[in-house]
C-alpha cells in the first residue's frame, strides 16, 4: 500500500539552517547538509529545502548545498524559494534536486507551471500554496509570508495549478503555521478533494496526533514539519511508529 510520507523541512539562508536544530550528534546544527544527512539516517521519506535567501549569491550557495546533499541522501529532495524561471529549475535539478517548489512566481506567471511541467515532467513541479482563512469554508492565497493577499480563492488556485500540470501541492495554512495547535484540516481536505494530485500538509504540527488527524480527516498524502523534528521533540522513526499503531501506512524503517 502506498505509504503516507513524512517530510522534514529545512529553512535555509546563505547556506545556513535558519532556526537551527538540536540534533545530538551533529558537529554543526546550522549546516543544512549535516541536517539533511541526519534526517536521511532517521529514514525521512523526503526532504524539503526552503531557500529564504533573496540574493543571487545566496542562490549559488543553495545550489552547492543541494549538490553536496544529493551525494549523501538517496531520498527525494525538493528545493523551493526564489525559483522564478525554467532556468532556475534546471539549475537546481542538475545540482541533484528531484523536485522544485514554486510559489510567488507561479502566481505572477501561472504559465511557469506549464513550462516547468513540459520541460521536466509534472513530477518535478511542486506548487506551494500559502492560504489564509477569509470566511467559513473559504480561503485566499497570500504571498510574502502571508502578508500580501492576492485576491484569489485557494481551492480554485489549487485546481488551476493541477490543471496546468503541477505534480504536487505543498499546502501551508498561514493561520496554523507556527501555532503548534494542529494543521488546518478543513482547508487540507477541501484542497485534497478538489485535485487529483498529492497534497502535502504544512503548518501547525505540534504533536504526532496532529499529523494523524490531517492524514486521516484532512486526506493529506504527506505531512511536512520543521520544529517538531528539529528540536528533538520526536524523531521521524517515532512518528512512523505512532502512525503504524494507528493503521496509517508508512514506509517501515530498517532500524
Amino acid at each position: 500500500m502506498l505509504a503516507k510520507r513524512i517530510i522534514p523541512c529545512l529553512d535555509v539562508t546563505n547556506g545556513r539552517v535558519v532556526k537551527g536544530t538540536n540534533f545530538v550528534d551533529l558537529r554543526d546544527a546550522g549546516d543544512p547538509v549535516e541536517c539533511a544527512i541526519a534526517y536521511n539516517e532517521q529514514e525521512a521519506d523526503e526532504l524539503v529545502f526552503l531557500d529564504i535567501t533573496a540574493s543571487v549569491d545566496g542562490r549559488d550557495t543553495m545550489v552547492d548545498v543541494v549538490r553536496r546533499t544529493a551525494k549523501h541522501c538517496f531520498i527525494p529532495l525538493t528545493v523551493g524559494g526564489g525559483i522564478r524561471k525554467v532556468e532556475d529549475m534546471r539549475e537546481m535539478l542538475l545540482a541533484g534536486a528531484d523536485k522544485v517548489g514554486i510559489n510567488t512566481a507561479a502566481i505572477i506567471n501561472p504559465g511557469l507551471i506549464d513550462e516547468g511541467a513540459t520541460a521536466f515532467g509534472s513530477q518535478c513541479i511542486v506548487c506551494a500554496i500559502d492560504a489564509k482563512k477569509e470566511g467559513p469554508g473559504k480561503w485566499g492565497i497570500y504571498t510574502h509570508g502571508g502578508r500580501k493577499p492576492m485576491g484569489i480563492d485557494a481551492v480554485e488556485w489549487a485546481k488551476e495549478v493541477y490543471n496546468r500540470g503541477a505534480g504536487e501541492i505543498l499546502l501551508t495554512s498561514m493561520d496554523a503555521d507556527g501555532t503548534k495547535d494542529g494543521y488546518d484540516i478543513e482547508l487540507t481536505a477541501a484542497v485534497s478533494e478538489a485535485v487529483g494530485i498529492p497534497v502535502i500538509a504544512s503548518g501547525g504540527a505540534g504533536n504526532l496526533q496532529h499529523m494523524v488527524d490531517v492524514l486521516e480527516q484532512g486526506k493529506a498524502d504527506a505531512v511536512l514539519a520543521a520544529s517538531i523534528f528539529h528540536f528533538g521533540q520526536h524523531t521521524v522513526g517515532e512518528a512512523k511508529d505512532y502512525f503504524a499503531e494507528r493503521n496509517i501506512p508508512v514506509r517501515p524503517t530498517c532500524k
Partner: protein, 204 residues
C-alpha cells in the same frame, strides 16, 4: 567494473550517478555507442513522456547497441521510462515504439475514486521469486520510491520480478531475465533498499 549511464537527454541523471558513486563503483554518463566497448554494466534511465523518450533514444543512435547488449546477456538495468521502453509500446504515445525486448504494452492507471495519479511515493513490492539475486539482502516486502502514471503489462509471466498494489490495481513493478533487471520504481531514490538493489545489480 565500469558502469555506463545512457544520457540521451531524458531526465536528470545526477541521482543515478551519485548512487553508483556512493557504492564505490566507477560510473559515467555515456552519449555514444562507441563508449559501450569498455563497460561492464549498462543503465538506461528515463523520465517524462514515453514518446519523447523513445524519439530521443532513437536519435541518440543507442537503440541497436542496447538491443545487442541485451542479446549478449550483459548486465543491464532499466529505470522508470527506461523500464517502459523495453516493452513494445505505450498508451501514452500510440505512434511511438519501444525496444520490444519484452512482449506487452504500457498502460495508464485506471480511474478509481480518490486515486491520485501519478502514483507518487513509497510503496511496498512483493517479489514473485524471492530467491532472485536482485532481492538479496532485503526484507520480504521492501519499499521503493515510485513516480509514474503508466506501467508495462508484461505478457510473459516468468519475467515478472515483483508486483505492487496501488488502490485496487496490482501492476508489474519490475522484470528480470538473465542479467537484465528493469524497475518502474527509482532505486537511486529508494535509500537502503534502492542502494541494495543497485549493489545486487553490480554483482551480476
Amino acid at each position: 567494473m565500469k558502469v555506463g549511464i545512457i544520457d540521451y537527454g531524458a531526465g536528470n541523471l545526477q541521482s543515478v550517478l551519485n548512487a553508483f558513486h556512493a557504492l564505490g563503483a566507477e560510473a559515467n554518463l555515456i552519449t555514444t555507442p562507441a563508449e559501450l566497448a569498455d563497460l561492464t554494466h549498462l543503465v538506461l534511465p528515463g523520465q517524462g513522456e514515453f514518446g519523447d523518450c523513445s524519439r530521443k533514444l532513437e536519435a541518440s543512435g543507442m537503440t541497436q547497441p542496447i538491443k545487442d547488449w541485451i542479446t549478449a546477456d550483459k548486465p543491464f538495468l532499466g529505470i522508470c521510462v527506461g523500464y517502459q521502453l523495453l516493452f513494445e509500446g505505450s498508451e501514452e504515445s500510440p505512434t511511438s515504439k519501444g525496444l520490444g525486448i519484452f512482449k506487452g504494452q504500457n498502460v495508464k492507471f485506471t480511474d478509481e475514486a480518490g486515486l491520485k495519479v501519478p502514483h507518487m511515493g513509497w510503496n511496498g513490492v512483493t517479489p514473485q521469486n524471492p530467491n532472485l539475486s536482485m532481492w538479496n539482502g532485503m526484507s520480504d516486502e521492501p519499499y521503493f520510491y515510485y513516480v509514474h502514471s503508466y506501467f508495462p503489462q508484461a505478457e510473459e509471466a516468468d519475467v515478472v520480478a515483483c508486483v505492487t498494489t496501488y488502490g485496487n490495481q496490482t501492476f508489474h513493478g519490475a522484470v528480470t531475465r538473465g542479467n537484465l533487471i528493469a524497475t518502474q520504481f527509482h532505486p537511486e531514490k529508494s535509500q537502503h533498499a534502492g542502494l541494495q538493489l543497485l549493489k545486487n545489480f553490480l554483482a551480476l
